[in-house]
């Protein structure tokens, strides 16, 4: 089926409401908030509400790096590995530093489920590099001392 043909009526399904479909990314954010990732049930519920199939929802969700279909830690640490962060002693150096502190490598979650470490592409913080995000908070001009502070504060949280 040509997904751009929004006015046609595909056989066996309801007319696709283009305005409804445009809610998909927003709906996925809401669905993801509950468990930190998109559970099968969450995907199914979103699909049902928007008149889409589960596979259509998975197809779209899997395109975007901020949507997850696997469980993640309570705090997701995303270290920028962009060129400007690299030129400013960041990127791998920050990844290695954070990873050593938490005992995990990129893509891994601590055994207590509290931290996930990831690398991400440019965060548009090149003028304040090195940078990383923790959940939705951006941290810039990172140094070993500032990373220590950030991690200590997060570890202190219940």
């Amino acid at each position: 089926m040509d997904s751009r043909n929004v006015s046609g009526k595909p056989e066996g399904t309801a007319i696709i409401d283009p305005a409804k479909r445009s809610m998909l990314l927003a709906a996925l954010y809401v669905a993801q908030e509950q468990n930190g990732y998109l559970t099968r049930d969450a995907v199914h519920q979103v699909a049902k509400r928007l008149g889409l199939t589960d596979s259509e929802v998975y197809s779209t969700a899997s395109f975007y790096t901020l949507f997850r279909t696997e469980p993640v830690g309570h705090h997701v640490i995303q270290v920028c590995e962009g060129l400007s962060c690299y030129l400013n002693e960041g990127a791998e150096r920050v990844v290695d530093y954070v990873g050593a502190k938490l005992g995990i490598r990129p893509g891994e979650t601590t055994s207590d489920g509290r931290f996930t470490l990831e690398t991400v592409q440019c965060l548009a913080s090149c003028g304040t590099a090195p940078a990383m995000r923790v959940n939705d908070q951006l941290y810039e001009n990172l140094s070993p001392a500032s990373i220590d502070d950030i991690l200590e504060r997060l570890m202190g949280e219940v």
Binding site: R21, L25, L28, Y64, L66, Q121, L123, C126, G127
Partner: protein, 416 residues
Amino acid sequence: MAEQQPVLLANVHRPDSEKIATYVRHGGYTALRKALKTDPEEIIAEVKASGLKGRGGAGFPTGTKWDFMPKDAPVKYLAVNTDEGEPGTFKDRLIVERDPHSILEGVIISAYAIGAHRAFVYIRGEFFLGVKRWIKAISDAYQHGFLGRDILGSGFDLDVSVHRGAGAYICGEETAMIESLEGKRGVPRAKPPYPAQSGMWSKPTLVQNVETLANIPHIVLRGAKWHSGIGTKESKGVKIFCVSGHVNRPGNFELPLGTRLKDIIFEHAGGVRMGRAVKAIIPGGASTPIIGADRISTPMAFETLKAAGTALGTGAVIVMDETTDMVEVVRRTTRFFVHESCGNCLPCRVGGKRMLEHLERLAAGTGTARDIENLEYLARGIYGQTFCPMGTGMVEPILSGLRLFRDEFEGKVKSN
């Protein structure tokens, strides 16, 4: 050229700069009042005469783009591109976080000029503060009567909503952004038809970058002549240059187009760290060709950078000093583009992966002369042959890196 007062970054350093009261106190929304009393055609003519070109990377003349919007279409849309993701670029994030009303005023005037009553703001999912600032700015603008029905008694209606992307560089490409706004995978569409003919839900759609829109109120207030009096022959107005890498004072600098690269680096960004020499510069973001230090006197303008074999792009200047490993630089930009490839067309999807493998081997010191040969062969083959411009953007740093720093690539070859 006389010293310019800041135009686009005049507000960003004020306390509470993001608030509507601050913006209005410093003359905000006076351009909107003026515009709403002007014939839309006159505004389009003014923007055309100003010489403004898009600030999102492609540099298309803004007024011409507006003119492409059909006059008689009953439904038209304006889509605002806040999907800043080009490595080295951090200007749009600054404006959205610190001066969102300057963009919003440009949005309202642009929508009025092209006859759109619905605008969609698309913003990178990672820009959490930016999302909040956009939403707050829009809701305050409704409260003040700058949005909604019968704006300032003009009879013009406009609604604006905010839409979060979710981590995909390609969604900065206008047709991919439209797909994403429609709730789909961000895969670029074939052009033509251009969005001005068939964009969101097949309706005429104007897609415009944040920095471009922020220029509009100033052009309306001060006139096309003021704007076209700044800059060079083919590059009018001011530009926010994002300077990063091995400089003493990285940051955003608003300067007239045509400012020489070396003045940006040495006068504004404080020169190279530890007094080292410049080895290479990426002048317009990661998808623009790398240039050597011999090009440092080039004026930062569309035509002069083109003549120097590169491009203005987003105006993101990444400075690399004499100690920089250029193979690693090229490997890193390539990894970025491979990660961000939408997977739609083969040269970008598969070619990118293969090129990265060659670069990984070379960077690790396990590569051979064949890796360089194949890398160059693939890059030349991919250049200009992908569905959207991203594939060409991917190979620009590779081809220019090989051209300028081939000895470094060869120096990495095993048992050379």
